[in-house]
Amino acid sequence: MTASESAAVTQVYDVLIAAFPGRPTDQAVDNLQQEVLNQMNETDPRGVILDISEVTTLDSFFARVISETAGMVELMGGRAIVVGMRPSVAITAAELGFGLDSVDTARSTDHALLMLGVTVEDADDVAAESESEAATTHDDGDRSGSALSPGGGR
């Protein structure tokens, strides 16, 4: 489990993407938060995308960790955007009263990258890449990272 948790944080352009696992233990969620903050410190990205598209159960603990992580990223000078909340998760979270109110959200990773100020040209590349990369971005960050870096892979 540890290997897959640490592989969940990848870099695309100068943005970190943290993919939260679908059915994690509390410990795994805590570990991912720690990993995001460590990489934040090492790579000083302009922003962090918190991808919760695999998350099928957003309970009070998980919602708190996501809000906290976003808050810490912002304290460290970056911007955090949550993407990919499933409709059923959004409905349940709203009913529970655990909205991610204070957290920026986006419909998709592309949209989040635009919000983070990745230029239109870059974003077009990202959009093109994401067709084929969407499924592999989580564990294949090096490849997509170099393809999207300025001058990289072209």
Binding site: D26, S88, G97
Partner: protein, 146 residues
Amino acid sequence: MSEDGKTSDAVDAQVLRSGTIRVRSEDDILRARQEARAVAEEIGFSTTDVTRIVTGVSELARNMHLYAEDGIMTWREIEAGRDSGIELVFDDEGPGIDDIQGVLRAEHSTSGGMGRGIQGTKKLMDAFDLTSNAEDGTTITVRKWQ
């Protein structure tokens, strides 16, 4: 809420099948969630209802582990007339909840949490019953009908 431990749900339900999971670690919380998800999907609940049920299980199983250390979740597939549903019982012999009314109004937390787990779970379910005291610990029974 009732004092005698019977469910507040007036409907008499027939039990089709049931199972138990002992919850005394974080892995057990995950297991309780997975089992509840599998049962709810088999019963035929919608994706949103499955999410509501599993989220409630996550809250109540975590509470058992956090506050009572050890407890048992029992799930039952139930039927009343043409309705099918799920009943989940979370039973522990921990210290009990001293301010039940405060907890139900989400005004009381002893863990620095949002104090919304129990009140929120009640909203997600069709029936909710809580019995708790220092001698016998806490028993929470919830039901969701399809």
